[in-house]
């Protein structure tokens, strides 16, 4: 997991290298994207909230990310979400309760605060206190520096229902400050790889800096959206996420992306919230309630 070479890598240079790699991979994915968009228009995937075992509610923080072109974060050609052109897809988008861009903007602002001021006053717990409450392995928690834990704002422990195995390739959707990615990196070991994806620049800076300081070489953090993950199709053995999907208004698109990046037989394991009582329509349309 560690390498002497990592000790001489500058965080900003590492970030620039990640961005260059991202652009190269996005360019490579253009033909695949065209096929995906065409196929989704011909055969619209069957999604339905009515089949959800529980209703995923939106009361906590976010991790679906804004388009890279927002606020000067243009990293080159970006993948658009793989929305089809069918009437079903257009209707699904019209049925969203809030404006996606506005929600992403608020979510990014909220998580920017959590990144730079993790001890601030939030409606949720953060850091080590939260990790202990959610039942994370105490020994693994103790081995991580404060900077890797303090901005953690997850909902549950994504590793409780299935343990990661050495050598697995993991995608962390909405990796935030990198806490779950670092836990995963230790579990999959030197032969495994973890790609964290997040939309908030401050969170990415933090997670990359911590990785550099810890000399971790099997984890990489990329800028991207949950609805358009910068990961090639069927790359991942496992997709993890924590407290992110509930903040994404188009959950169908998120799960479609998770399905795309998973290899056949791969697992998705995530922590999120669900409500036991129906939420009034007015509350769903109140964007302030999405971000707390």
């Amino acid at each position: 997991m560690t390498s002497p070479a990592a000790a001489v890598i500058d965080p900003r240079a590492a970030a620039a290298r990640h961005d260059r790699i991202l652009i190269e991979r996005l360019v490579e994915l253009v033909p695949t994207l065209i096929v995906l968009m065409t196929e989704s228009g011909r055969n619209p995937p069957r999604f339905g909230y009515e089949n959800a075992p529980v209703t995923v509610f939106n009361a906590h923080l976010i991790t679906c990310r804004p388009r890279p072109t927002v606020e000067g974060n243009d990293q080159g050609p970006s993948r658009q979400p793989t929305y089809g052109t069918s009437g079903e897809r257009r209707q699904a988008m019209q049925d969203l309760h809030v404006d996606q861009d506005q929600l992403r903007h608020q979510v990014r602002d909220k998580y920017r605060q959590v990144a730079v001021a993790p001890a601030g006053d939030y409606h949720f717990h953060t850091g080590r206190r939260l990790a202990k409450k959610l039942g994370y392995d105490q020994r693994a928690l103790a081995e991580l520096p404060d900077e890797a834990v303090e901005s953690f704002a997850g909902i549950a422990n994504p590793f409780t229902l299935r343990a990661l195995e050495p050598g697995e390739r993991v995608v962390d959707v909405g990796s935030g400050g990198g806490f779950d990615s670092h836990i995963a990196a230790r579990l999959v070991g030197d032969t495994g790889t973890v790609i964290g994806v997040d939309m908030t620049r401050e969170m990415l800076d933090k997670s990359r800096t911590v990785a550099w300081e810890m000399r971790v070489t099997n984890v990489e953090f990329r800028e991207g959206l949950a609805e358009s993950l910068p990961v090639e199709s069927e790359w991942a053995d496992v997709v993890i996420s924590n407290g992110v999907i509930n903040l994404c208004p188009d959950k169908k698109a998120v799960f479609e992306e998770i399905f795309r990046v998973l290899r056949p037989g791969g697992h998705v394991q995530f922590g999120d919230i669900a409500n036991g009582r129906p939420v009034p329509e007015g509350a769903l349309q109140d964007i302030d309630l999405w971000t707390g």
């Binding site: 995937p45 069957r46 999604f47 339905g48 909230y49 089949n51 959800a52 075992p53 529980v54 995923v56 509610f57 009361a59 906590h60 006053d121 939030y122 409606h123 949720f124 717990h125 409450k133 959610l134 039942g135 909902i155 549950a156 422990n157 994504p158 409780t160 229902l161 299935r162 959950k251 169908k252 799960f255 479609e256 998770i258 399905f259 998973l262 290899r263 056949p264 037989g265 791969g266 697992h267 998705v268 394991q269 995530f270 922590g271 999120d272 919230i273 669900a274 409500n275 036991g276 009582r277 939420v279 309630l289 707390g292």
Partner: protein, 44 residues
């Protein structure tokens, strides 16, 4: 929604009182909001 996406073998953990003791606890209680761990598999 997981099954509708094509995933299978969906499992859900027991609820976790994620917001207990936090300032958001009152809102969470109002709608019976808890944290859960979810697990599902993409078919082979």
């Amino acid at each position: 929604m997981l099954e509708a996406t094509g995933l299978e073998n969906v499992a859900i953990s027991d609820p976790v009182d994620t917001f207990g003791g936090a300032s958001g606890e009152e809102k969470a209680r109002a709608y019976d909001v808890h944290g859960y761990a979810f697990l599902a598999r993409k078919p082979r």
